[in-house]
C-alpha cells in the first residue's frame, strides 16, 4: 500500500533570519504607532504608502531580489520572517503586498530586462504597487476560460475585456493581466499571455465593487480598445498559463493564509484577562495549538522552497487548513468572549471586532483559490485524479 507521503519536515529558520526578526520587530515598534490608517486593526489589506516606503528604505521589499534591481539578495527564509512579522504585528503592508509577493517575482523570472529595470527598483522602494488581473465575470476558479482579448496590432496589442475582483486597482500603478492573444475561448490553456498594464492607459476604466462589509477594495477593470505596447508583454506570447500557475504558487504558500485575522486572537487574549476560567483557557489553548501547527507547516513549506523544491500540493494543503482556521477563529472567539470576557466594556468592544472578522471571513476560503480548488489539487496529489 503506498500513497504519496505528505510530509512537512520540521524546519528551523536559520540564525540570520532570526536576527533579522529582531531588527524588523524593533523597526515596527518605532514605526507603527505614528501611522494613521483607516483600519483599526491593520493587515495585509490595509494600505499605507508611507509605511511601504519606510519598509522599502530598510531593504525589506523584494528582499530576495538581485541588488541590481534594488533587492537585498537575501534568502527566501529572510523574506518569510519579514512577512510573518508584518502580519504578527499588524503592519499596514497592503500597498506593496502583491508587488512584493508575486508581481515582482514574476517579472524577475519571466520579464524582459527593460521591464525589470524600469519596475523592480520602484517596487523595492515601496513606491510602485500592483493588482492581479486574473478573474473575469465568467472566469473565477476556471481561470483558463478567460475571454479578455489582446489582438496583435502594429507595435503591440489592442485589448478588450473585463477583469473583476481587482483589489486596489483604484490605487495601484500596474495590473498584470491575463489575456487571450490567440485562439478561441475553448482553447483553454493555449493562447494565453500576460501583459504588464499601466492602469493609467487610455481605455482602462476602473469602477468600484463594494464588498458586503461596505469596503471598497475590489474593482471592475474594463479595457476598451486599449492599446498596450508590445514591450509590455511578459515572457513569451502563449506562455501565460505556465506563468500564471507559478504566480499562484507564490500566492498560496504564505503565512497570510492563516495570519490575516491574527488580531482577533490577540484581542481575545486581552478580553479573557490574565486568569481565564479552565474551560475558556482550554478553548484558547486549542486555538493557539492550531495556529502553532499551521506555522510549523508553513515554515516547513518555506524550508522546502528554499531547498529548491516546488511544494505546490503542500502549499495548497496549508492554505486549505489555514483559511478554514481563519474562518473558525472569529466564531470560536465570539462565543468564548460572550461567556468569559472579564469586563463589560472589553466585551462590547471585542464583539464588534469579532463581528467584523466574521463578515470578512467568507473571503478567506475564496481568494487565491477556493477550498474546492485546493482540495482538487490535494486530491490529485493523493493520486485520486
Amino acid at each position: 500500500m503506498s500513497i504519496p507521503k505528505l510530509e512537512f519536515p520540521p524546519f528551523h529558520l536559520p540564525p540570520e533570519a532570526e536576527a533579522l526578526r529582531v531588527e524588523v520587530r524593533q523597526f515596527l515598534k518605532e514605526t507603527l504607532p505614528s501611522l494613521k490608517t483607516e483600519d483599526r486593526f491593520s493587515s495585509w489589506n490595509t494600505r499605507s504608502s508611507e509605511f511601504s516606503k519606510a519598509l522599502g528604505k530598510r531593504g525589506w521589499i523584494g528582499i530576495t531580489w538581485p541588488k541590481q534591481y534594488g533587492g537585498s539578495e537575501r534568502s527566501f527564509l529572510d523574506r518569510y520572517v519579514v512577512t510573518e512579522e508584518l502580519l504578527g504585528n499588524g503592519a499596514p503592508a497592503g500597498a506593496h503586498w502583491v508587488a512584493d509577493r508575486q508581481s515582482g517575482p514574476l517579472l524577475l523570472r519571466f520579464g524582459s530586462e527593460e521591464q525589470r529595470q524600469a519596475i523592480l527598483p520602484k517596487i523595492t522602494a515601496g513606491e510602485c504597487y500592483f493588482s492581479i488581473g486574473m478573474s473575469e465575470p465568467d472566469s473565477g476558479s476556471d481561470l483558463a476560460s478567460v475571454r479578455t482579448r489582446a489582438e496583435p496590432v502594429q507595435g503591440g496589442f489592442r485589448v478588450n475585456g473585463t477583469k473583476v475582483w481587482t483589489s486596489g486597482a483604484h490605487h495601484n500603478h500596474y495590473c498584470i493581466t491575463l489575456v487571450r492573444t490567440s485562439g478561441q475561448h475553448g482553447d483553454r490553456h493555449k493562447g494565453l499571455s500576460q501583459l504588464l498594464v499601466d492602469l493609467k492607459t487610455p481605455g482602462v476604466t476602473i469602477r468600484p465593487i463594494i464588498n458586503l462589509a461596505g469596503r471598497h477594495d475590489w474593482n471592475e477593470v474594463t479595457f476598451n480598445d486599449c492599446f498596450i505596447p508590445e514591450e509590455c508583454l511578459i515572457g513569451n506570447e502563449g506562455d501565460g498559463w505556465l506563468q500564471v500557475t507559478s504566480e499562484l504558487a507564490f500566492e498560496r504558500s504564505g503565512p497570510e493564509r492563516f495570519m490575516q485575522n491574527f488580531h482577533v486572537l490577540r484581542e481575545l487574549v486581552r478580553v479573557l484577562g490574565r486568569q481565564p476560567a479552565k474551560r475558556a483557557g482550554a478553548i484558547l489553548g486549542r486555538i493557539v495549538a492550531r495556529l502553532w501547527t499551521l506555522r510549523q507547516m508553513s515554515v516547513a513549506v518555506a524550508g522546502m522552497m528554499q531547498g529548491g523544491k516546488s511544494p505546490a500540493i503542500e502549499a495548497a494543503l496549508v492554505k486549505d487548513l489555514g483559511t478554514i482556521y481563519q474562518q473558525d477563529l472569529p466564531e470560536i472567539a465570539r462565543v468564548l468572549a460572550e461567556s468569559d470576557a472579564t469586563t463589560e466594556d472589553d466585551m462590547a468592544d471585542f464583539l464588534d471586532v469579532a463581528q467584523y472578522a466574521t463578515m470578512m471571513a467568507p473571503s478567506y476560503t475564496i481568494q487565491g483559490g477556493t477550498t474546492q480548488v485546493l482540495r482538487g489539487i490535494v486530491a490529485r496529489g493523493l493520486g485520486l485524479r
Binding site: 505528505l6 512537512f8 479552565k278 483557557g281 478553548i283 484558547l284 489553548g285 495549538a289 486549505d320 486530491a379
Partner: protein, 351 residues
Amino acid sequence: MDHDTREMLLDTAGRFFAERCGKDIVNGVEKGVWPADFWKEIEEMGLPLTAVPEDKGGVGGNLADLMAVLRLAGENAVPVPLAETALAHLLVSAAGGTPVPGPATVVLGGLALNNGRVTGKVDRVPFAGVADRFVGVANSGGKPVVVVVAKANAKVTAAPSHAGEPYGSVVFDKAAYEFSGDSAVSADRALELAALARAMQMAGAADKVLAVTVEYSKQRVQFGRSISTFQAIQHMLAELASCVAATIASAEAASRDADEGGLVDGGSFSIAAAKTQASDFAQRIAAISHQSMGAMGFTHEHILHHYTRRLWVWRRDFGSESFWGEKIGAAVAKAGPQALWPSLTSSKYAA
C-alpha cells in the same frame, strides 16, 4: 546515532512491524492473548532500549530516534507496551538505574514516596494488565524520584481501553520498590514525554488511516466506477489528508524540539501543542475515514478500527486536548496579548 544508523533502524523496525504485527495479533490482544513471541522479538531488536545510553545496555539513540520508532509502532497498531516500556527504561536509566527486560508501563500522576514505600492511585494506566513492572516519578519530600514497583506489589483493577488494550487502575498502598533513584526529570516532564510518545503514535495511526482509506476508495466500485473518482469523495479525502498532515507535522516538530532542547525540559510548549492538535484532529480523521469506507469500515473484520479506535483512546491518554489546551491557554493568558506573537514564533509558553 548517526543518520544512516537511524535510517537503518527505522527501516528494520518498519518492516518488522508490518510483517509481524498482523491483525491476528492485534485482535488477539483484544481477546486477552498476550503475544509473547512478538514481544520477545521486539526486545531482541532492542526497540524498548532505543533511547537508553549504551553504557546502560541501551541502543544509544536520542529522544527523536525513539519517537520515530513509536510513530512506526502507531502506524502498525502495535498492541504491546513498547512506548510505555521505552519511557520506563528512559526514566530508570536517567535516574541512574539499569533497565530490566520485560514489559513495563508508566504510572504518571500523584505518587508519593515516604519511608521507603510508594503510595498513590492512577487510573487508565496503559497495559497495566500485562506489565511486569510499574515505573513512576514519585514525590519524595519535594524531590522527584523514579520508582520501579513489581507487579506483585501493585493492585491492578482491569479496565480495558476502548481499543481493547489491557488498561487498568493501579494502586500502590505503601508498596515496596525494586529500584529508586533521583529523577533527572520532574513528574510533569515525565507526563510531557508520554504525551509526545502518544502524539507520535497518533501521527503514525493517522497516516495509516489515510493510506487505508485512499486505497479502499480506489478499489471500491459503485455506480460502475471506483468511488475515488467522485468529487465528493475526493474532497473528503483531501480534507482527511490535511488533518493527517497537520497531526504528523505538529508531532514531528514537537519531537525535534524535545530532542534539541534536552530531556529535562526541551520542547515543553511544542509537546503540549502537538498533543492538543493530534487529539483535536483525531475525531475528524476517524469520521472522514469511516464515512468514506461505509459499512465495510465499521466491521470488526476490517482493520480500520485498529487505528480509529486507538486514535479515540490515545487522544485521552497522558492528557487530552482539554488538559494540554488548558495549560497552553492559561500560560498565554497570563503572559498577555503582547506576548502572544513572540511566544508563537519561539514555540514557548511565554516569550
